[in-house]
Symmetry: C2
Subunit: 340 residues, 2 copies
């Protein structure tokens, strides 16, 4: 319990050196885990750090190393989606934790309009960040292109097909979609439809592909409807269309829990009972899933872990220059509840 009446004067590397009876250089070496430090010096320094309560001054370090100590998290979504989408929040949280553990700052850049694109690109060119994580990159994303041009270490969350050289972390959407659809099949559903979304991203396309995989010959184009967003509203809209086309369907795979919730809403209004008349499954295992009546069967997506893993990958590249090649897939899990 130290006295904290006034803002404490922070100890510097100099104080540590004096306390340990060595020079600044040696302290710096210990701090950075460099070799060529004697056991005795190391121990003395570690004790001294503890004693004087030293913590590194990031600004000084960044100035000396000509780095920023910051990583950008670039989210290319309207503000509304950013606020609403639980996955994005979880990714942000995961990234934030991983970065601050490593003493890095997270700078979040939200790109809402196209005007923002220019602003962000020039910001990135200014050397304010040592690396970047791009969430839900679109095909032909100008930001991703700029990042490559600037040689800024970058990791994508989700994997668009046009930037295969960049490392990315994602989930196996296709397999997960196949798995959950298969269980829909194995519980006896015969006329299964899908509400697909975001077909301009890998997540959307792969979920559709997985659905197709599971149905095999039974796949029927007419039972797939595409909606623009992973949203409740889109779910309602899609479900209405689908019901018009095929009033007799008995299973629905929705590309996200929010969509599934919208679908459930419309189905109930149409007098269908869930899961008795129609089985519904979603994707994400977000709070939507539990909010539904009945609770949604869905695929658990490790959103926080995705963010954390992406952070670790950029850090690897920033600090050791090691670029992970290709895509890292994190495991998903089917969660079976009451809606199917």
């Amino acid at each position: 319990m130290s006295e904290t009446r006034t803002r404490p004067k922070r100890a510097t590397i100099f104080d540590v050196a004096a306390e340990a009876g060595v020079s600044r250089g040696t302290v710096s070496r210990v701090l950075n885990g460099e070799p060529y430090v004697s056991q005795s010096a190391r121990e003395a320094i570690e004790a001294a750090i503890d004693k004087v309560g030293y913590v590194r001054n990031t600004a000084a370090r960044n100035l000396a190393t000509q780095t920023s100590g910051a990583v950008a998290l670039i989210v290319h979504e309207p503000h509304a989606v950013f606020v609403e989408d639980p996955n994005i929040g979880a990714i942000l949280l995961g990234t934030n934790t991983a970065l601050s553990d490593a003493d890095y700052q997270l700078v979040s850049l939200i790109i809402d309009s196209d005007r923002d694109t220019d602003r962000v690109v020039s910001y990135l060119g200014g050397g304010f960040v040592d690396g970047a994580i791009v969430v839900s990159a679109r095909e032909d994303d100008p930001i991703t292109a700029a990042l490559e041009r600037l040689h800024i270490p970058t990791v994508l969350v989700g994997r668009p097909e046009t930037a295969p050289e960049l490392p990315s972390v994602s989930i196996d959407n296709r397999t997960a979609a196949r798995d959950i659809t298969e269980r829909l099949v194995s519980t006896g559903r015969r006329r299964i439809g899908m509400i697909a979304a975001a077909l301009d991203r890998d997540s959307g396309r792969d979920r559709l592909a997985g659905f197709r995989d599971a149905l095999g010959d039974a796949f029927d184009d007419a039972l797939v409807v595409e909606v623009p967003l992973y949203s409740f509203h889109s779910g309602q809209e899609g479900m209405r269309q689908l019901l018009r086309r095929a009033p007799d369907l008995d299973g629905i795979f929705a590309a996200s829990d929010a969509i599934a919730a919208g679908a459930v809403d419309v189905l109930k209004e149409a007098g269908k009972r869930i899961p008795n008349d129609v089985g519904v499954v979603g994707f994400d295992d977000s709070a939507w899933a539990l909010r539904c009546q009945p609770a949604l069967s869905t695929v658990r997506q490790p959103a926080g872990a995705l963010g954390a893993r992406a952070a670790e990958l950029v850090l690897d590249e920033i600090r050791r220059g090691e670029r992970q090649r290709g895509v890292v897939l994190l495991p998903t899990e089917v969660v079976w509840r009451d809606s199917a």
Copy 2:
């Protein structure tokens, strides 16, 4: 269009000085908006800044000024709430924008468990942030106490009663709650209940008080039920209780849109028609409001603006030492839709 094949060497204050034919000191003065700079020098410097594409090196500035250039956003909520609550997301966004406009970094500290409290307190003591914004502070919050002890400029979003010396930004929950309840009354509802929440915070208490204000003598204790969280689930729970107590009620004021959505759910299940049999109003104007069937009448809360305003207040205190006294109230607005 400059060549960007390799990471561009950033221009320094020195380059600007050379280009403008003045000294570093004068450039620094212009950069910091200090007086005593001749018109001609100022113009030359501004032109030079443009020409060489100078942007200030934050690390160097922070080192020289002995500041961190960062403001903490402290959210004392479980991770789940952080991810789900649209208000928190919007506050974060507003804060982030305001801070980065002023060249400050936002550091988000999420306190989930009590273990985090210690970690955060010691982090704050380390001089890593120049100011702090505390969202949804509880009564007797240990973090708030630590912040005062450390003399770190702090602004609260929402106003707990035990920290009246700290400036805060909030909305007039009481008046807003009264207004929306009054419109419920004026449209002919006679038996109006309330689902209250979070009575350990000003937001919760004031909404209840406003409700009471609007009903006057007609206020009936038995028609108020308290639930633990501003959540959909809590809304369902509360509504069930209320229906048991008073199956004949014809109006509901829910302390948040999420609660209202839960209430609507239960009411529909119970065969009530909305708004014909029961009128329902919420609070927040979050995405929940539009998600409801029928769309929710509610109070629009300027969450983004709350965050931005809080940021401006801390910045005022950090930069000019001016502490705003008391609470800043931002205006709300009743949004009349179809649920009442």
